[in-house]
């Protein structure tokens, strides 16, 4: 056993890493249920692709850029000494846990932050472009911001003195501002503000919200990086804020719309959990209850801004994650207690106005950088390979056009003909119109194979 490793801390962080990883499939269901049937697989696929792409990029360079030795002492970016996790072995220690475990724990944060952005571009992003975007974004946006806030050398933590326990800026403000940039860049979905775009499966949304909630205990509790009282306090604060977020959102809905909805319950819980993410290690339970309530109430209004202002943040990454992330990060300036922070106190606990501007500066820095850099990366992706799916793919649904699959098979008609025994078909053949087999015309090709399936060529159309 290498010296410095605490087995209890390590055990808890191992479990937390698994908990946080599960949040991304949970997010996939949360988002997947909110889109229409024709693009649910694409929505889920964007999250699963993030798991794979961000993991590879993180291990290759992202971890080193975020947590490697600081470049030039400015606190802006880490160096590439640990690219490919070079120089880190089972004996390496960070705090009281193996460095490899710390890198894996942080990896799960990078994964879900990238996946969260996908909610802003639902139903209309080219899949290959999304994959390319997440790879570049992890290196150019996530890694630097994580360095600023989470690295002991980072300027936000070290020089500015802002507090962000588990990622209110790094994860929530970051994904929200990035999502807004992409939503503006790609433009609204066809039919935005005209057609009813109802969530196709609220049970999926609630299942996803439940998995997110479950994983959040690892997200916030694990951010104590130890099995200790701070982890316990963070966990209790997390639960408290999730619940008041849910209640706050429902109270607004009941009063404003006449009905308390299941989508409101899921959204309110997530808003509360988002808001307490930066604060759970700095506030007491009363603070957490109030932060969650504030997020639930404010976000239930913030999700309506997009209809008034005309940006199609389809699944409310801005209205929930950016807004609640800002609320939680700022309210640390009011609610921080010395028993949790070990020093810093908020305005309401006699600490004066000192902390609030620091929190605001951190939000502003992360928000502005994430928005600008993401817009630039998105522009680059758009120029090289196109970012927005062709209109015919969007109208028919990305599931069929891009992935050659449909999520649900209703009814008994229209299954077409199985072609499993045939030689491989040419790549250009679309799902609705199988091309002739190379060894002669197909004897009983039904075209189109599914009623209502447009004869699309999957993803071969040049960008519109």
């Amino acid at each position: 056993m290498p010296t410095g490793i605490d087995t209890g801390d390590t055990a808890w962080l191992l479990a937390s890493t698994a908990l946080v990883l599960l949040m991304t499939p949970g997010l996939a269901l949360f988002y997947g249920g909110m889109v229409r049937t024709k693009s649910v697989l694409n929505m889920i696929m964007m999250s699963f692709a993030s798991i794979a792409v961000v993991t590879v990029v993180w291990l290759a360079a992202g971890y080193s850029l975020a947590f490697g030795p600081d470049l030039g002492g400015w606190g802006l970016l880490g160096g590439l000494e640990h690219a490919g996790l070079r120089g880190i072995g089972p004996a390496s220690v960070t705090g009281h846990v193996p460095t490899l475990l710390f890198a894996a724990f942080q990896l799960t944060f990078a994964v879900i932050t990238a996946a969260l952005i996908s909610g802003a571009v639902a139903d209309r992003a080219k899949f290959g472009s999304w994959v390319a975007f997440t790879a570049v974004w992890t290196l150019l946006v996530y890694a630097p911001v994580a360095h600023w806030v989470f690295s002991p050398d980072g300027w936000v933590l070290h020089r500015l003195g802002a507090l962000d326990f588990a990622g209110g800026t790094v994860v929530e403000v970051n994904c929200g501002a990035s999502g807004l940039a992409l939503a503006l860049l790609l433009g609204p979905r066809i039919g935005f503000r005209k057609e009813a775009m109802r969530p196709h499966s609220l049970p999926l949304v609630l299942l996803g919200a439940g998995l997110l909630w479950f994983g959040w205990f690892g997200f916030n509790g694990g951010s104590a990086l130890g099995a200790n009282g701070l982890a316990a306090a963070s966990l209790v604060n997390t639960q408290a804020a999730g619940c008041t977020g849910l209640l706050g959102w429902l109270a607004v809905e009941k009063r404003r719309d006449g009905h308390a909805t299941t989508l409101g319950a899921a959204s309110g819980a997530v808003a509360g959990l988002v808001a307490v993410t930066p604060a759970c290690g700095s506030v007491d339970v009363l603070g957490a209850l109030l932060i969650g309530l504030a997020a639930g109430v404010v976000c239930s209004y913030a999700v309506g801004w997009k209809y008034r202002l005309g940006y199609d943040d389809s699944l409310d990454v801005v209205g929930v994650h950016l807004v609640a992330g800002v609320i939680g990060t700022l309210l640390i300036g009011l609610f921080a207690v010395r028993a949790m922070t070990g020093g810093v106190e908020g305005l309401l606990h006699g600490g004066g106005f000192g902390q609030l501007p620091r929190q605001a500066a951190a939000v502003l820095a992360v928000g502005v950088y994430a928005f600008a850099a993401t817009y630039g990366i998105g522009k680059g992706v758009e120029r090289v390979m196109g970012f927005r799916a062709p209109a015919e793919h969007e109208t028919a649904g990305l599931d069929l056009a891009v992935h050659a699959e449909t999520a649900y098979d209703h009814g008994v008609l229209g299954h077409g003909t199985a072609q499993v025994a045939r030689p491989a078909r040419p790549v250009s053949a679309g799902p609705g119109r199988p091309g002739p087999a190379p060894d002669g015309p197909a004897p009983d090709d039904p075209a189109p194979a599914r009623p209502g399936a447009p004869a699309l060529q999957p993803d071969r159309t040049p960008p519109a």
């Binding site: 109802r198 809905e253 989508l263 239930s300």
Partner: protein
């Protein structure tokens, strides 16, 4: 022969089926349908955004009967499907030129 088509509230399907069985109607076809009449639609709210849903779910029931039975069948359907509230649906009949039972090739009223 007459084709009688009824578009009624989905939860009334069982009552209509029972009423037709009591009259001795041997077969019917049911499809899920959606549409609107005077009932128009309803409003749903998702994250504060109101959606006007124009089309209301209905079931369409189709039976072919002999001319002499048509009136009784229609009345049975109407009685079974009525709630007295808006959106109860419609029942109509049209003449049918010919019917063939696929299995046996019987034609006309024998095939019904």
């Amino acid at each position: 022969m007459k084709l009688i088509t009824a578009v009624v509230k989905p939860f009334k399907l069982d009552d209509v089926k029972t009423a037709l069985q009591e009259l001795g109607v041997h077969g019917l076809t049911v499809t899920e349908a959606s549409g609107y009449g005077r009932q128009r639609g309803h409003t749903e709210v998702y994250r504060g955004a109101e959606y006007r849903i124009d089309l209301v779910p209905k079931v369409r029931i189709e039976v072919v009967v002999e001319d002499a039975d048509a009136e009784a069948v229609m009345e049975a359907v109407v009685a079974a499907a009525r709630t007295g509230r808006i959106g109860d649906g419609k029942v109509w009949s049209v003449p049918v030129d010919g019917v063939v039972r696929v299995r046996t090739g019987e034609r006309g009223p024998d095939a019904v």
